[in-house]
């Protein structure tokens, strides 16, 4: 036990004394969360729009003030003739035009159905789709609001619903993905490199010629990275709650339990790589190419798995990050309980056990 403790203490010293490792370990998750959360989102903020209000009645005014309050749109100007719409688009910075016809409120009140026109700049189709759905949901929201006060079903536009992400936030999809990516990198690469480093510098030779068994060496190598990874999970969650305004809808305890499981999976993969390689460069290369790339491609976090050809869909099943990504999404965003993802958990456990058995079998008690 004393041997264990001093070994773990030694491992912490290695990590904490190496500024570069420390930077990768704790800087990377923060940077990634912030980059994915802010820079790479496909949500649109402060899009400039123009409004032509031919009705100028209570309904149109209320909708306009709702739009003005939203942080997605910024009303650039109010115009009065259809010709101005075209010239506004031609200036280039206007994304969308909203036209209320005359008698808007009248139609809504008496026919229970009002129409309005949304014109979007579709030179960037993704952007246009996103913006039109934002604005439809604002209008829809208003219609439901007034419908509540009476029994008359007022309708303005077709119903659009956004499940789990009503404000179409960009961050929710990224946080679980970044968690999977960061843990994969930290655990696999750091453990693999730290074990191979002992081989390369020759300290493994001394450790082997000691009563401390090689198996214990491996276990005490893994424990510090388990702890450091949990610190990383905590910091990612704190960032996502307090900086990205993304609440954790499910059980935090469950989230940590599943994260611990995934970390152990990654640690066993790292150990496996370290058993099979003899140089730090090779270990790092395999961890990066062999682990990070499939994680990005096949976890479903950047590219939807459903859109892939069947062979690739099959391959995606052996990527642990895919299952972890599903679990984290279920807990964090959908707020589901264990019964929703016990299958995914079981698959992760199976992958871990298989990797553990393989690495223990190929582990050498001697050199070469």
């Amino acid at each position: 036990m004393k041997q264990f403790l001093i070994f773990i203490k030694k491992e912490f010293a290695h990590v904490l004394r190496d500024r570069k490792t420390l930077l990768i370990l704790f800087g990377m998750p923060v940077v990634q969360i912030l980059i994915f959360g802010f820079a790479l989102t496909n949500e649109v903020k402060n899009a400039k729009i123009v409004i032509m209000d031919q009705a100028n009645d209570i309904a149109s005014q209320q909708i306009i003030s709702k739009i003005r309050a939203s942080r997605y749109f910024e009303i650039a100007e109010t115009i009065h003739s259809p010709q101005q719409i075209e010239s506004a688009f031609k200036k280039g910075n206007i994304r969308l035009a909203l036209i209320f016809p005359a008698q808007f409120n009248n139609n809504l009140m008496h026919q229970h159905l009002a129409q309005l026109q949304v014109i979007a700049d579709a030179s960037d189709p993704n952007n246009a789709t996103t913006l039109t759905s934002y604005i439809s949901s604002i209008i829809q929201d208003y219609a439901t609001g007034i419908a509540k006060t009476s029994n008359i079903p007022y309708r303005i536009s077709p119903e659009i619903r956004f499940l789990y992400n009503p404000q179409l936030k960009g961050a929710p999809n990224y946080v679980p993905g970044v968690m999977a990516l960061v843990l994969m990198l930290v655990c696999v690469m750091m453990t693999a490199v730290s074990i191979v480093k002992e081989k390369e510098t020759g300290t493994m030779e001394i450790l082997l010629v000691s009563p401390f068994s090689p198996f214990k060496v491996i276990v005490s190598k893994a424990i510090p990275y388990l702890i450091l990874s949990l610190v990383n999970v905590t910091s990612i969650l704190l960032l996502s709650v307090f900086v990205l305004d993304l609440p954790i809808n499910g059980s935090i305890l469950l989230l940590f339990a599943e994260s611990t499981l995934f970390i152990i999976t990654c640690l066993t993969i790292g150990i496996f790589i370290s058993v099979k390689t003899n140089t730090m460069q090779l270990a790092m290369l395999i961890s990066l190419m062999g682990m990070m790339l499939p994680t990005i491609l096949f976890s479903g976090f950047m590219f939807p798995i459903e859109n892939m050809p069947v062979p690739l869909q099959v391959i995606s099943n052996i990527i642990p990050a895919k299952w972890y990504y599903i679990i984290v999404k279920d807990i964090m965003i959908k707020g589901l309980g264990f019964s929703a993802f016990w299958k995914e958990t079981l698959i992760l456990v199976a992958i871990t056990v298989v990797m553990m058995v393989i690495s223990l079998k190929s582990f050498k008690i001697r050199l070469s």
Binding site: K10, H14, R17, T201, I206, L208, V209, S210, P211
Partner: protein
């Protein structure tokens, strides 16, 4: 009982790279035993088999009575091993390294402090310095401390003085002498022939083969001819002429001199001087010289 016993040991790398070819020797308890040979002779392979790091491809070996294959666990807790390359944690301090290895071997620094005291007092001023920032000699002393801290029965030192300055080398051998008095068996390898005299017995190894095992004194005594050292104004020409001179048994460069021996024991060396002068060499200096281990080594090749 012998501390180390090696019988017909064979170690082959890959398909046909024979590193150790049928070597047998034994090391008595409490002696300093040297493995002497140039780089690539197979010294490190022998060390790795004896420290249970490699499996032998033939023959057998025991350390402190335990078999290196079957009883590797017992051997691992009984021996101290210092690999050829500096193998401590460069980012840990001197004290942390020592403390780490003491704990790994289930002991404490205090328990065996008497063993390392003489060495450690020199390291003590730097105990908070990272091992990576020590000088070469200091690193070796620290590595020795770490290998000694658990009071090993047999100490294996693989080229401990390679890359160390002459003063530190001398100190290092004095330390080994003190350890020997504590009844620790020491097996040490070195490519430096001049260090062979510091050992109680030596095994001379070349290309995986054992040339001779004996005390340094006996090996020198068994050198059959009188040896001469010779010098002239043109050493290159001198060596070439000696090589073709039919009275010469062996000749080779040795430092600033050339060492030669003659075929006839009664041969008068003055004749050789005369002969060389007729060949156009000047300032010839020919003197009797003491046989060194290196001469014996060259003779055995």
């Amino acid at each position: 009982m012998e501390a180390v016993n090696v019988k017909n040991l064979v170690k082959i790398y890959g398909k046909d790279k024979t590193a150790v070819d049928d070597i047998s020797f034994s090391v008595n308890q409490g002696e300093i035993f040297g493995l002497i040979g140039p780089d690539g002779a197979g010294k490190t392979s022998i060390f790795r088999v004896l420290t249970t790091l490699l499996l032998p491809d033939g023959g057998s070996a025991t350390v402190d009575g335990f078999d290196v294959v079957k009883d590797y666990k017992q051997i691992r807790s009984r021996v101290g091993y210092m690999p050829g390359k500096f193998s401590l944690y460069q980012d840990l301090s001197v004290e942390e390294n020592l403390n780490f290895f003491a704990t790994i071997f289930n002991t404490t620094i205090a328990e065996n402090y008497h063993l390392i005291k003489d060495i450690y007092v020199q390291l003590e001023p730097f105990k908070n310095r990272r091992a990576g920032q020590l000088s070469g000699g200091m690193k070796q002393k620290l590595a020795l401390c770490c290998a000694l801290i658990h009071k090993p029965v047999v100490l294996f030192l693989d080229e401990p003085t390679t890359g160390v300055d002459p003063v530190s080398r001398k100190e290092f051998w004095e330390i080994l002498q003190q350890l020997k008095e504590q009844n620790i068996t020491i097996v040490v390898s070195t490519p430096y022939m001049d260090e062979a005299n510091r050992c109680d017995r030596i095994a001379m190894i070349q290309s995986g083969q054992l040339l001779s095992v004996d005390t340094p004194a006996n090996i020198i005594k068994s050198y059959p001819e009188q040896l001469y050292a010779i010098k002239a104004n043109n050493m290159h020409a001198l060596l070439k002429i000696l090589h073709e001179y039919n009275q010469v048994k062996s000749s080779y460069a040795f430092g600033e001199f050339a060492h030669i021996s003659f075929k006839e024991p009664k041969f008068n060396p003055d004749q050789a001087v005369t002969y060389l002068e007729t060949k156009g060499l000047q300032d010839i200096e020919l003197i009797k010289t003491e046989v060194t281990i290196e001469d014996c080594f060259i003779k055995l090749l």
